[in-house]
């Protein structure tokens, strides 16, 4: 049985349905990310688990206990907010010990737990600082320590890194993941940043317009998107309208250019309108390696992105992005050059129209 179950949950604000028929089972110690654009319902779902919103329909069960209507301050849930939400009038130690004092723990236990938490976030000398004396990253680490001090059953993180700069974001997300693994705590992480979701989650729930689009491991979500939205939202994707030519062979045509796909097209008929997609990194120049699809192209543009070089190639009448690792010893083609690119049939995804 799952540790946290969100069963058929929906939430309406007036006539607007923010979350619709949401179903998810989370195992103990698992970190699940809710990924989606603004307004997709990910934060509303998190707030329902936290108890800040009551579902319009459905039930939320934690460790076998129905908590759907339980007040927020009675749930065994810790929360980390985007804006840190540290109490400005309290020191770091005061913030971390806040919940412990409410639980009426002994002074000795509170001291011990505060020190333990400060060590956990690598800030042992900051106990007497006030939030305004800390950087954004330090404030968020204190917020994490404050939420973890109560040893909650579930940790909820609502876009905790959005307000931080890029470098701190990367280091702090690794820290959050390491702490979550070390404590074995069940966690839900809300983000609109796909890189964040893919890099730290056991599973990702991609959401759109209040609905779950796909649930899966980061590998599944990135490599095998089940819907057009997931394919477009997660990672960079080339997509173009195509027509099914031979369902049995996985053959589709885009502007007269034929692609072979490994997708099972048997459910589709010849002449069906579909969308075919290829990730930029799945293309390579023809002389690299022989693959299933050999395509004539013209180089349209070249963009240097550091570790990656993005080359825009025109295949038929459609421009595709192709990513190749930066190799300073290889000569790049020039704009206007004609050549051939290839990709395997597994790289060609046929998603639907």
């Amino acid at each position: 049985m799952a540790f946290l179950e969100i069963n058929n949950v929906s939430k309406k604000f007036g006539a607007t349905e923010a979350v619709s028929d949401f179903n998810l089972q989370i195992q103990k110690g698992e970190l699940v990310s809710f990924l989606g654009p603004s307004g997709c319902g990910k934060t509303t779902t998190l707030r329902m688990v936290a108890g800040f919103e009551i579902p319009s329909t459905g039930r939320i069960v934690m460790d076998g206990k129905d908590i759907t209507d339980m007040p927020a301050n009675q749930r065994d849930v810790g929360m980390v907010f985007q804006s840190y939400a540290l109490f400005p009038n309290m020191t770091v130690a005061g913030n971390i010990s806040f919940g412990l004092k409410i639980m009426k723990k002994s002074a000795e236990e509170i001291n011990q737990r505060v020190n333990e938490m400060l060590d956990l976030i690598n800030m042992p000398d900051y106990a007497n600082r006030y939030p305004y004396q800390l950087s954004g990253g330090q404030q968020q680490r204190v917020a994490l320590a404050r939420a973890l001090a109560l040893r909650p059953d579930v940790l909820l993180l609502d876009e905790p890194l959005s307000a931080l700069d890029a470098k701190i974001r990367v280091s702090l997300r690794a820290e959050i993941r390491a702490i979550q693994r070390k404590l074995g705590i069940t966690a839900i992480y809300v983000t609109h940043d796909q890189e964040e979701a893919l890099s730290l989650s056991d599973r990702v729930v991609v959401m759109n317009a209040g609905k779950m689009e796909q649930v899966g491991t980061p590998f599944q979500i990135y490599n095998f998107p089940e819907t057009n939205f997931v394919a477009n939202f997660v990672g960079t994707l080339n997509t173009a309208p195509a027509e099914v030519i031979d369902p049995a062979r996985g053959l589709v045509s885009m502007d007269g250019v034929q692609f072979i796909s490994a997708d099972d097209l048997n459910g589709r008929q010849k002449g069906d309108k579909v969308r075919m997609s290829v990730r930029p990194e799945r293309f390579s120049f023809a002389d690299d390696q022989k693959k299933d699809n050999l395509l004539d192209c013209t180089i349209e543009n070249i963009t240097f992105l550091g570790s990656v070089v993005r080359i825009q190639v025109k295949i038929g009448n459609t421009v595709f992005n192709m990513d190749t690792f930066n190799n300073p010893f290889l000569e790049l083609p020039k704009i206007g050059d004609k050549g051939q690119v290839t990709c395997s049939k597994e790289a060609v995804l046929v998603i639907g129209h």
Binding site: N73, R75, M79, A85, F87, P88, N89, Y132, Q133, R146
Partner: protein, 265 residues
């Protein structure tokens, strides 16, 4: 540039003269009680009058009670409006502006009529409050509403009420703890502003105390003014010092907080 500076100085001096000249004149006049000499005789007379202490004491008591009632009424209301009912904010703000629209004298007569037997149930007057200080205190609370609400509202806008409340809730706090440990301490300066403004208003208030027949500093000053020449001027100066003292105290207690708020937001 220099001409601009000169104009700035001229405007500043005109402003200072406009504000301080009448006060200096009042102070100077208050020192002339004994002919041809500057003395503090008027102040001695004022401070040796037992009625001064009685009226001042009553006003002080009314001020403290008004502050307590206002805080209990305004802080939770403003907090709830910010936390759960943001759309209601303009309406609550409108209600708090009533003392600027309805003159105190109209308010006091209206209250006297309604709560002096005007409110009837099956022909029997109910809620007869004349003769108790409830009407006076209610009037003072209404008078202080625009200042108290605005001060607290400004303080609440400076902190993220919703997230702080949710953070406290997720840590197991109840409403009492949230208000006393999280919201009140972070509104310290805003609340103090409201408290001192209310204090200054109640200490000098005349209409309510006079028409409801309760001893207070305002009617006392008016009474002394009608009978004596120098003592009322001395009391006016004392009144000013009291107000300035309150403002000074407010700024002293609030020192350093601007930096904290700026750093946090």
């Amino acid at each position: 540039m220099k001409i601009k500076n000169i104009w700035a100085w001229i405007i500043l001096i005109i402003g200072l003269v406009y504000f301080f000249l009448p006060l200096l004149a009042t102070f100077e006049f208050s020192l002339r009680m004994i002919k041809d000499r500057y003395t503090f005789e008027a102040y001695r007379v004022a401070f040796t009058d037992a009625k001064f202490y009685l009226n001042f004491g009553y006003s002080f008591l009314w001020a403290i009670l008004t502050i307590i009632i206002s805080l209990l009424l305004v802080v939770p209301t403003a907090y709830w409006v910010h936390w759960r009912m943001r759309k209601m904010r303009p309406w609550v703000e409108f209600v708090t502006l009533m003392p600027f629209v309805v003159p105190a004298v109209v308010l006091v007569f209206g209250m006297s009529r309604l709560y002096g037997g005007g409110l009837k149930l099956f022909g029997t007057p109910v809620l007869v409050l004349t003769g108790t200080p409830i009407l006076l205190l209610a009037g003072y609370v209404i008078l202080s509403l625009p200042y108290m609400f605005r001060a607290v509202d400004t303080g609440l806008r400076a902190i993220d009420v919703r997230t702080l409340t949710e953070a406290a809730l997720s840590l197991g706090a109840g409403w009492g703890t949230i208000l006393t440990k999280v919201i009140f301490p972070n509104l310290r300066i805003a609340i103090l502003s409201g408290v001192f403004l209310t204090f200054a208003i109640v200490m000098g208030e005349f209409t309510f105390a006079s028409l409801l027949y309760w001893p207070a500093f305002g009617p006392y000053m008016e009474e002394i003014g009608a009978m004596r020449a120098y003592t009322p001027q001395a009391l006016s100066v004392v009144s000013f010092l009291l107000t300035w003292g309150s403002i000074g105290l407010m700024q002293w207690i609030g020192r350093g907080s601007v930096q904290e708020v700026a750093a946090v937001h």
